[in-house]
């Protein structure tokens, strides 16, 4: 849904919607009635946009948490590896831990 102009002249309010997989643009017009319709559409869209925004915020928050936990896990893992190595173990072929010979 948008206001458009043709060759820089006038402003027309249009709506786009999908019909049978194709985008169809509906011409609403210009002037006070088009302004009114545009305001109504905006009011109708508002809750959906707010919901979408809340979801984006939540997604970002979860992604940040995921990163923090991954970071934390990596650090703990490196401490564990260091301690095992100090105790005389090594990772055999990047797999199981084995005690060094000799």
């Amino acid at each position: 849904m948008a206001w458009e102009s043709r060759r820089g002249k006038g402003r027309y309010y249009t709506r786009s919607r999908k019909v049978n997989g194709r985008v169809e643009r509906e011409y609403i017009g210009s002037g006070p009635m088009a302004e009114f319709q545009s305001a109504l559409d905006l009011m109708e869209r508002w809750p959906r946009q707010e919901e979408a925004y809340a979801r984006r915020v939540e997604r970002d928050r979860m992604a940040e948490l995921d990163r923090l936990v991954a970071d934390y896990c990596e650090r703990v893992e490196s401490v564990a590896c260091a301690e095992l190595e100090a105790a005389g173990y090594h990772k055999h072929n990047r797999g199981e831990w084995r005690r060094r010979r000799g």
Partner: protein, 175 residues
């Protein structure tokens, strides 16, 4: 995550002194050096206090528990207590420092897995978002299993050699 330090430390603080400390903590978290200095002065010789302030995994847990339960403080408290008992069960009676650290990680990963799965199973998600959360849950699951595996490995490798004598012949079973 800043407010969580106050939440954790605030549990031990009662009365007017406690309220004063909470205010100081709040100010210190917002970058007030004077408040930090005063906190150091007041709690310099309380290692438990600073251990809790600096406990990164507990902060993560508090944060995740809040995400998981929203405003429901009762369920949140239940989850935090479950994590505590999980840690105790995993560490056993005389854990080494490394075992404690690894058990802590298992508990943190478990909570993240619960959170990620709860998001992945939310109804009404777009396909892209559902896929995004599912991948996050998969990563959390892998981390959880890896955390358990490392704890088990450390336990296994630290078991002292056990000797059994069978017909005067020594057999090493473990170690």
């Amino acid at each position: 995550m800043a407010e969580n330090v106050v939440t954790i430390v605030g549990r031990d603080l009662d009365g007017d002194t406690g309220k004063r400390d909470l205010k100081l903590l709040d100010r210190a978290q917002k970058g007030d050096d004077k408040a930090l200095f005063e906190l150091k002065d007041r709690h310099g010789n309380r290692p438990g206090f600073w251990k809790e302030v600096g406990d990164y995994s507990r902060h993560l847990e508090q944060h995740m528990a809040k995400q998981l339960t929203g405003d429901n403080g009762l369920i949140r408290e239940g989850i935090l207590r479950k994590l505590e008992s999980m840690r105790q069960e995993l560490t056993g009676p005389n854990p080494s420092a490394l075992e404690e650290l690894l058990a802590e990680r298992v508990a943190t990963c478990w909570l993240q897995l619960q959170l990620a799965e709860s998001r992945a199973t939310t109804t009404g998600l777009t396909l892209t978002l559902a896929d995004h959360y599912q991948k996050q849950a998969d990563r959390a699951h892998r981390r959880y299993l890896a955390a358990i595996k490392t704890l088990a490995t450390v336990r296994r490798l630290q078991i002292p050699p056990m000797q059994v004598n069978i017909a005067e012949k020594q057999v090493n079973l473990l170690g």
